[in-house]
Symmetry: C2
DNA sequence: CGCGTACTTAACCGATAAGTTATTTAACAT
DNA sequence: ATGTTAAATAACTTATCGGTTAAGTACGCG
C-alpha cells in the first residue's frame, strides 16, 4: 500500500498535464462523450480513457450513463480546494507587484528633472521580512 | 528531446507533492538554508535537494549565495499563473455552490412548512474577488 | 595547507505514468 | 443471433519520479 496521497496532491497532479487541462476546458462548455473528447487529440482512445480516469479519481469529472454513452461532466469542487490553497500565497504575489509598481513610479519620478524630489520612501519599497 | 512541456504544467507538477508544498509553506515565512529546510522531513538531504531543483525549475524558488550557504527564497510569480488559469473556472464552482445553497434552502423550506427558512449558511465564508 | 560544513551530483533502484495494440464488455440495431 | 458502436480493460514498453548511498564541489577557518 503506497499510503494514499492527499487529495490536493492528486488534484494538482491531475491538472499538471496539458491534455487533461484541455479536456477540462472542453468540458467547461458542456457535457460530452469520450469519443467526442478524444477527437481533437493525437492519441489513441485508451490513452484518453486513462486521462479521464485520472481526472475522475481526482473528482474533477463525473460520468453518467446514457444509452451506450458515458457522458463526462466537469466537477469544479476540487478546483476550489486548489484555490483555497493558493489563497494563502495570494498576498505575496500581490505584494511583490506592489513593490514593482512602487519601483517603477520611483524611476518615473527620478527621470523627471524639474519636479520636487519625491522622497524615495525606501521603507515602503523594501520589506525585508525576517521574523 | 521530450519537447519541453509548458510552464503551467511544470508548475502544477512541482506543486503536486506534499513535501514541495511544505517547503513552500516554510519559505513563505522567510528565506532559509537547505539544511534548515530539510530538517523537518524524514528523508535524506539529496532528496530535499532534488525537490528544491524541481521547485527552482518551475521558478517557484530562487537561490542566492551567502558565504557557504545557498539561501532559498519563495518566488510567487508562477502561483499567479496558476491563479489566472483557475480564474476561468471560478465562476463554475461558485455557481455550483449557489445551486447547492438554493437546494438546501428549498429542502429546509419543504421540511419546515410554517416557519421561515432559517438558513444555516455554511457556504458564506468565501469572499473572493479577483478579476 | 588540511579539515569541517553545506550542499550538489552521480549512479542506482523500485514504483508509477503515459503511451501503444489487442481484447472485452455493454448497449443498441437489424 | 449477429453485427456495430462506445468505451473500458489487459498486457506490454519506455520514461520519469522519488528515494537511496557514495562521491564530489565550494567555501570558511585554524
Amino acid at each position: 500500500m503506497p499510503a494514499s496521497p492527499d487529495h490536493l496532491s492528486v488534484t494538482l497532479n491531475a491538472l499538471a498535464d496539458p491534455t487533461r487541462r484541455a479536456i477540462l476546458a472542453r468540458l467547461s462548455l458542456g457535457e460530452t462523450t469520450v469519443n467526442d473528447l478524444a477527437e481533437p487529440f493525437d492519441m489513441s482512445l485508451p490513452a484518453v480513457s486513462k486521462h479521464l480516469k485520472v481526472l475522475e479519481k481526482a473528482g474533477l469529472i463525473s460520468r453518467g450513463r446514457e444509452k451506450q454513452w458515458r457522458p463526462c461532466r466537469l466537477e469544479p469542487e476540487p478546483l476550489k480546494e486548489v484555490d483555497m490553497w493558493l489563497a494563502k500565497y495570494r498576498a505575496m504575489w500581490e505584494a511583490r507587484l506592489d513593490r514593482l509598481e512602487a519601483y517603477l513610479t520611483q524611476l518615473q519620478a527620478a527621470a523627471d528633472p524639474p519636479a520636487p524630489p519625491v522622497v524615495t520612501d525606501k521603507s515602503d519599497t523594501q520589506k525585508d521580512d525576517r521574523t
